[in-house]
């Protein structure tokens, strides 16, 4: 059997019994056609070389116990608080869907003729080139729910989403569409253990001068398998900032696909991941500079112990004519023992001659000299280690502009470190 037919077979098995949900019918059908042409990812795919997709491909999701959700994040924040349970919007547990400067709706209940009809799946579809992302197409076809957010001005407050799950084997497909008009501003926060197996897509379309901030915390559930995609499309002078904190999870693949379509825009993606034991965490980023004078930054750090595995695949593609591009990429892992490993594949592909692009990737242990210096000042071993781990992650947290949010994230990191001292 050829590779293509193996993939088609795997897809047919995976889709057996699944029906397209109602609404967004045209977009779902074309997504399914895309997916059928691609098939499911396999171990032979270069893009999945470091991450085994078989747990995602399997028909049945593995149960993953809902562990202690830990302290809620962003609780002190004045925000529109929304709740999804097992992939479905829970109106009763949520604030009203009203926010000045923003139109808020839900995918599952979007009426015919809704603005998102044309936007839904559009950036995902565009993001399938030059590299196929089958799980994103799957998501557009089968998403059960999600938010449809149209920001027309400066949003009065952030939208803060909490994901909860009731079932150990919850298999959830969520899809948000976020559109910011010219000059609009919006902050989007996400947290919580969404599913035992999660497929999550956010499409973000930023018009000229729009400013978007995204902070998410992927919850502390050990057995979780998750594949997420962010598709961002930036107009001139737009600002896109996304930070992800990942603690635990058996498998997490976070993809970010970012395209600069207008000049003078900025996109920063950052991630801090911490894993202990059965933890495989993959950050895969693809940034396309198709306009002049844009700035992209990728800052990804992972703390790994007891055999945890970290993966980073980051690409900066600078198209012909995208002069004065400023592209930066750093991926680093702190290995707390010899069993853990970090696999990195940084890539630059540049077709313009006047650009500044750099990338770096390192992995190493805690600096013994710094550790001794701290201890010689009276800081006990564990506390000194934690301080140095937080210091290692500091660059990623520095990408969060709101100091209160950054403080929340730091507290979450400290809690995790305290739980995983030995």
């Amino acid at each position: 059997m050829g590779a293509a037919s193996v993939k088609a077979e795997a897809l047919a098995t995976r889709l057996g019994g699944l029906a397209l949900p109602d609404g967004m019918t045209a977009a779902r059908e074309t997504a399914l056609a895309r997916l059928s042409a691609m098939g499911l990812p396999g171990k032979r795919d270069e893009y999945w070389h470091y991450t085994d997709p078989s747990a995602l491909n399997a028909v049945q999701s593995k149960p993953a116990a809902v562990s202690d959700n830990g302290a809620a994040l962003f609780s002190g924040m004045d925000a529109v608080k929304l709740v999804f349970v097992d992939g479905v919007f829970d109106a009763a547990a949520s604030d009203d869907l009203t926010l000045s400067g923003v139109s808020l709706g839900c995918l599952a209940t979007a009426p015919a003729g809704h603005w998102a009809q044309t936007a839904y799946g559009a950036l995902e579809s565009a993001g399938q080139n030059p590299i196929a992302r089958p799980w994103a197409a799957f998501n557009t076809a089968f998403a059960s729910d999600g938010l449809l957010i149209h920001v027309t001005g400066k949003a009065a407050k952030p939208v803060s989403v909490t994901y909860l799950r009731r079932y150990d084997a919850a298999n959830v497909v969520l899809h948000h569409v976020i559109k910011l008009d010219a000059g609009a501003e919006f902050t989007f926060l996400e947290q919580g253990p969404a599913a035992a197996r999660l497929n999550h897509v956010i499409e973000i379309d930023l018009a000229e001068g729009a400013r978007f901030h995204h902070i998410r915390a992927q919850g502390r559930d050990l057995g979780r398998h998750a594949v997420t995609h962010i598709f961002a499309h930036l107009g001139a002078e737009a600002l896109f900032k996304s930070f992800t904190l990942t603690a635990d999870g058996a498998l997490t693949r976070n993809e970010a696909v970012i395209t600069f379509a207008g000049p003078d825009a900025k996109a920063h993606v950052a991630g801090a991941a911490m894993g202990d034991g059965a933890f495989h965490h993959d950050d895969t980023v693809f940034v396309t500079h198709a306009a002049e004078r844009c700035e992209s930054r990728q800052v990804f750090k992972k703390v790994l112990k007891h055999g945890a595995v970290g993966v980073f695949q980051g690409k900066i593609l600078v198209k012909k004519g995208a002069q004065k591009t400023d592209g930066y990429q750093i991926s680093q892992a702190l290995l707390l023992d010899d069993d853990s490993q970090f696999l990195a594949k940084p890539e630059l592909e540049i077709y313009a001659d006047d650009v500044k692009c750099s990338h770096g990737s390192t992995s190493g242990a805690i600096d013994d000299t710094a550790l001794f210096y701290l201890r010689s000042r009276g800081v006990p071993l564990r506390a000194a280690q934690s301080l140095l781990i937080l210091a290692f992650l500091a660059d990623t947290i520095a990408e969060i502009e709101d100091e209160a949010i950054a403080e929340d994230i730091r507290a979450q990191l400290e809690t995790w470190l305290a739980r995983h001292e030995s």
């Binding site: 701290l374 201890r375 000042r377 009276g378 800081v379 506390a383 301080l387 140095l388």
Partner: protein
């Protein structure tokens, strides 16, 4: 205060004896200086006393107010009042100098069973001590020693000492890399801390630091041993004649 007896130290990794029987007794309130050529084992002594990995003590002992120093973790030695101003202060990217100072101070207090210092009291204290050492707000905010000049790093060591108020201070070549003005600042910082209950072990290569920080006793160290002990005049002798005569004398 500090009693070192017949201390023998070798490297853990290789079979190399570095300290070959060091004996030293520093009483409360005393200032002792150790001088000696490069490679004689001065820094090794300071590291072994403060508990750095990589050395094994093959013989001898070291006690601080009677307690076995060598059996304690480095952080416990610090909480018991031992302080080492490093010859090469360490850069810690990502950890703010203020955070570092507050964490250290509170950790020591906690180990000793004392309450944490309040944020307000801490700020007041650090500002006052920093001012005396001409350490500006920017240096306090920056990550520990990152981007500091040689002199700034050394002043930062003295600031830590002033904040932590140890009873046994070891200064390892705190004068190296300092210009005359910085040397004055650092010496004033040290002298301000001199008291009846606090002792100093000042390791230096040159006599000039000892013009500012007047020692009670001067030891000459060579090849892992104290080869001569005397008063401040011994430092002058080294200054005038170098180490060659002294070394010849013992051989």
């Amino acid at each position: 205060m500090l009693e070192i007896k017949n201390l023998h130290v070798k490297l853990e990794e290789e079979d190399k004896q570095i300290l070959k029987g060091v004996t030293l007794s520093i009483g409360a309130g005393e200032v002792h200086a150790i001088m000696g050529p490069n490679g004689s084992g001065k820094s090794t002594l300071s590291y072994v006393l403060s508990g750095r990995d990589g050395y094994s003590v093959t013989d001898g002992s070291a006690t601080l107010d009677g307690a076995d120093l060598l059996a304690m973790e480095p952080e416990v030695r610090a909480a018991q009042g031992l302080f080492l101003a490093f010859q090469y202060p360490v850069e810690i990217p990502g950890v703010g100098n203020m955070t570092f100072l507050r964490t250290a101070l509170n950790a020591q207090r906690k180990t000793r069973g004392e309450p944490e210092i309040s944020a307000g009291d801490f700020l007041k204290l650090v500002r006052e001590k920093a001012k005396a050492l001409k350490i500006d707000a920017d240096m306090l905010k920056r990550p520990v020693n990152v981007g500091f000049s040689g002199g700034e790093k050394k002043r930062n060591e003295i600031l830590q000492m002033a904040m932590l108020e140890p009873k046994m201070c070891i200064l390892d070549e705190t004068d190296s890399g300092l210009d005359v003005d910085a040397m004055k600042l650092v010496s004033e910082g040290v002298n301000a801390l001199r008291s009846a209950g606090r002792s100093f072990l000042v390791i230096t290569h040159y006599q000039r630091l000892l013009d500012h920080i007047k020692p009670d006793v001067v030891h000459i160290m060579a090849a892992g041993r104290i080869i001569k002990t005397g008063g401040p005049e011994l430092a002058l002798e080294v200054e005038n004649n170098g180490y060659a005569d002294l070394l010849a004398e013992v051989q």
